[in-house]
């Protein structure tokens, strides 16, 4: 019972904050690190025992162990949506969506070893291909595309539908 009373008080205070935020709709300030308090869910024990951490720990803890790759700087990173269109024993063939707006695709082939982290390597499976490039080096990570990659992007059948009735498929019997 005591617990529910505490919860109720908390909810009221949250609601008050909400009202204040609504008033300030044109707030030009950004969320600064000073205002961020974090609950670390990476460790179940911490989650149960600790309350909100201070913002200083937010950044410190985020990058623990980062020093070992200090020199690894990449010129650019691209996260490309793709759909597997063919698989053989050695390679996976993927339609890669390079430009969503212009609907530009590129057919790319990758060694199958890159895909062995997927539950199954089958045709029509979507993937997200992360490519990082710097002079002399390219790094490729493949992630399952479930929930991220939109399969409808790869269904461009509607492009051909506009040609229906245009008689382009008529036999050339008269010249």
């Amino acid at each position: 019972m005591e617990h529910s009373v505490v919860d109720e008080k908390h909810n009221i205070s949250v609601y008050e904050n909400f009202i204040e935020e609504r008033v300030d709709e044109n707030d030009t300030s950004f969320i600064s690190d000073e205002n961020i308090n974090i609950i670390d869910i990476s460790n179940a024990k911490n989650e149960l025992s600790s309350s909100l951490e201070d913002s200083g720990n937010f950044l410190k803890n985020f990058f623990l162990g980062k020093d070992v790759i200090l020199n690894e700087k990449w010129d650019f990173t691209a996260n490309i949506q793709g759909k597997i269109v063919h698989v053989n024993e050695e390679e996976v063939f993927v339609d890669c969506l390079l430009d969503i707006d212009k609907k530009i695709f590129e057919h790319r082939t990758f060694p199958i070893q890159l895909f062995t982290n997927l539950v199954e390597i089958v045709v029509n499976k979507t993937v997200l291909i992360k490519t990082k490039v710097k002079p002399g080096t390219i790094k490729i990570d493949v992630f399952p595309g479930d929930g991220i990659v939109k399969l409808e992007f790869f269904n461009q059948k509607n492009k051909w539908d506009i040609l229906n009735g245009s008689e382009l498929d008529n036999k050339l019997i008269k010249w």
Partner: protein, 229 residues
């Protein structure tokens, strides 16, 4: 030495989603596999925030009941190419949120960028010589720091520029917007100039091209300021 973006933050604010904490995890779960770690703030409360940390790429994405933001560093060039982290996963997540029945509309956007660039043999007095009149700089004895702020207010848009001398990485940690990871930034141990750009726009629609255009403007303004020094 080229300019360094010590940090940038791009925010898209929308109407508060009252049941955000109940639906957010389902929306964001597919993206967790791309991140190196996640954190939650205000867990199970009305203003829960989910933080996706892409530490290998030095950026974070924070999603909450009223906004989504991405914060990165080093250079903006990496973020304005096709399929950059802005397009995927940032805008991909936004599109998922905006397709929710509970979603109202986008309210405004904000881009903040902090630049630093080395100027050889520069110091406070040399900066003042080039930027303000002597009578002004003499107002306060033993001056230790200075910044010049320029603002432009238009209908539905506000731009703020603030620049001053830069004396080393300690300054980066003392700004309201601190780098994502100071350790992985290029060498910041030099003297030069620091510029903070902030652009706020009231909009109800935002695309990847809007981000590109705002970054272009910020880069151009930095260049203009640089040419005056």
């Amino acid at each position: 030495m080229d300019k360094i973006v010590s940090v940038f933050q791009f925010e898209i604010r929308y109407n508060h989603i009252l049941n955000f904490s109940q639906i957010a995890r389902k929306i964001l779960s597919p993206y967790v596999k791309l991140a190196q770690s996640i954190k939650l703030e205000n867990q199970n409360t009305i203003n829960e925030q989910i933080i996706l940390n892409f530490e290998n790429d030095d950026y974070v994405i924070i999603v909450s009941w009223d906004r989504i933001l991405i914060k990165g560093q080093e250079s903006l060039d990496n973020y304005i190419i096709k399929n950059s982290p802005i397009e995927m996963p940032f805008f991909s997540i936004l599109n998922k949120i905006s397709s929710l029945e509970e979603f109202g509309s986008i309210q405004n956007i904000l881009l903040a960028v902090n630049y630093i660039k080395e100027i050889e043999k520069t110091n406070l007095s040399k900066f003042m010589e080039k930027t303000i009149q002597e009578t002004t700089s003499n107002v306060l004895d033993d001056l230790t720091d200075i910044a010049i702020t320029l603002e432009r207010n238009k209908k539905n848009e506000k731009v703020m520029l603030s620049f001053g001398p830069y004396s080393g990485p300690l300054e980066l940690s003392n700004r309201p917007l601190v780098p994502v990871n100071l350790k992985t930034l290029s060498n910041t141990n030099f003297s030069g100039v620091m510029l903070e750009y902030k652009c706020f726009k009231i909009v109800n629609k935002v695309t990847f091209n809007d981000f590109i255009n705002m970054t272009k403007e910020s880069n151009e303004l930095f260049k203009k300021v640089w040419n005056t020094l």
